[in-house]
Amino acid sequence: MAADTTTAAPAPLKAEATVQGAVRIHAALEKVTNPARVNPILIGAGILAWIVFSVVATVVPNSDKLPMRDTQSIRATTTFTVIAGLVVAAVWVAIWALTAARGRTGAWAVDRVSHGAAWLFGSGIWVLFWEISTAKTVVLAPPYFAAPQQIVDRMWADRGILSESLGNSLLLLACGYAVGLVAGLLTGVVIGWFQAANYWVHPILVFLGPVPSLAWVPIIFVLFPTAYSGAVFLIALSVWFPITVLTRAGILSVPRSYFDVAQTLGARNWFLVLRVSLPAALPSIFTGAFMALGVSFVTLTVAENFGVNSGLGWYLNWKKGWGDFPAVYAGIVVLVIVCGILLTLLFRARNWVLRWEKELTRW
């Protein structure tokens, strides 16, 4: 065992005993491994942009070409908008100040500021442009364009119906996504595993999969007993397609040697399907799940306009019918935020489930 170095536990690094010494090595590593730098000009400009936005929103008079209704709407929420702008600026000032702190907090703040400064500046310039081009100058004229305050106003005014719509949409989405996910996994595994099933199902998949969900609407609402079940099916169908395709692809690309190994260890078919194929296909399945989530949002807004008279998609269509574009934008903002949160959650889940994929410290 003397010549064997592979079983030895990793010895703690003894930098004190080196020629350069621990301090110099630490300083050199600091330069090499920590490229995160705070750019004071960029972060300062970002904070300034948001303050300027707040000041412009409250001090510069609104354009007199705005219709009365819009002016009222803007006035009603200007105070809130100004405070929101100042809060953004204040939060970043606080984080910037924390970069001076030692230890974890300081490192966290440096990371935030170095990573977020450009976006802070970009978004500050964007809201400033938005505010000036709509409320202050009407270069982008109503009713098609709306000031930030108008959107805030609609969100507040419709908070009851928006939250109810959001709840209904999430429920419908969850039902459709769950059904589509389970069905997609089952189909993908079966056609990935059984040649005969693949022979029949794969051509159907290739031809019917890309058909847009809108095209199914007439048939589905004839075939399904209730509009709600039809809507669930429509979403499930749009989820099913990418999940099936990528589960199948994942299972077909499992190295044969995994099966050889498992078989010589006594594995039977069930073990090979559930404990070898499926986990090996997970990276591919997650790609399918991401695509499915995106498609399901689109399908949701379609499905809600046929028979299901609630939900964000329905709200958008209803407000569009009235020509109330600020409200449409308010609905879109809610939709975008929810979509973003769900995608982030899926990302987190993926990173946890596939944590074995990451290159960790090598021994």
């Binding site: 065992m1 064997d4 592979t6 190994v261 078989q263 010589t264 260890l265 006594g266 090598r362």
Partner: protein
């Protein structure tokens, strides 16, 4: 340590195997017969692509021969079985399972609960010196450690035959030496029958009771050489060197007279 299993006898009787590749019939094994005593350590050596891996897959039960039979422990091999463990050149650890999870595949596949198999898994990890790394992911392991994990995984079922398809082929010289000693120790203490494919003549002579030299494809048994040296073997020993020269001579002769090497099949 649990009681060492006793090795099974292996009987390969007139086995011929062929594949069809690119529309061409490709004979790989040509009427190969070979008997291995229970608990014997046999090394298979021959030019690359000569069908040694094919033979070991037949022994594992992963493929079926076109002609002839393969018997292990007096019974005809009809499929894979946990009593015949296989270790590949690549560790082929399942990357989503930790080292412990990989070693647990055997007991789990045979329906044992985690609690029942825990002791066996721990013991197996201990045998190859990986106890400390039980919770590491395969992507974190060095080549030598990954191959140890693969070895532990193969040994957890307490096999009567251990099939080694060039398991040390990709390791550096130092790790290779260490693992050769390890293999020898495990073989002695566990008593399984071992079949080792290798390209390293010294490795074959260090470990095996007999060395089987194969001809180029379609492979035939060209010569079976009794090593007959006391263990542990000294590589600078005169008899050892003489045997190595003799085997290398046989392989050189084959390499220069092989028509297949000049026109490799696609």
């Amino acid at each position: 340590m649990v009681s060492a299993g006793t090795g099974s006898a292996i009987d390969i009787v007139h086995v011929t195997q062929a594949f069809r590749s690119g529309g061409r019939d490709l004979p790989v094994l040509d009427d190969v017969s070979l008997s291995v005593e229970p608990g014997e350590f046999v090394a298979l050596i021959g030019p690359s692509g000569s069908g040694k891996s094919t033979l070991i897959r037949l022994l594992a039960g992963l493929d079926k021969p076109l002609f002839g039979t393969v018997n292990v422990g007096g019974r005809r091999v009809s499929g894979p079985d946990p009593s015949r463990a296989l270790v590949f050149q690549d560790p082929t650890l399942l990357p989503w399972r930790t080292v412990r999870g990989n070693v647990s595949i055997g007991p789990q596949a045979r329906g044992l609960s985690t609690r029942e198999s825990r002791h066996r898994v721990d013991e197996s990890l201990g045998l190859v010196g990986l106890t400390e790394f039980a919770d590491a992911w395969p992507s974190q392991l060095s080549g030598g450690m990954a191959q140890r994990a693969a070895l532990a995984r193969a040994l957890v079922n307490d096999p009567s035959v251990l099939l080694l398809d060039e398991p040390l082929g990709k390791l550096d010289a130092l790790t290779r030496r260490a693992l050769q000693n390890e293999l020898q120790r495990l073989w002695r203490s566990r008593g399984f029958t071992a079949v080792l494919i290798t390209h390293d003549v010294s490795e074959a002579l260090t470990l095996a009771d007999r060395v089987v030299v194969f001809s180029p494809r379609p492979a035939r048994v060209r010569q079976v050489i009794e090593v007959g040296l006391d263990r542990p073997r000294d590589q600078s020993d005169g008899a050892f060197v003489a045997l190595r020269e003799r085997i290398l001579g046989l392989l050189d002769e084959e390499a220069t007279t092989s028509p297949d090497e000049l026109a490799p099949a696609r």
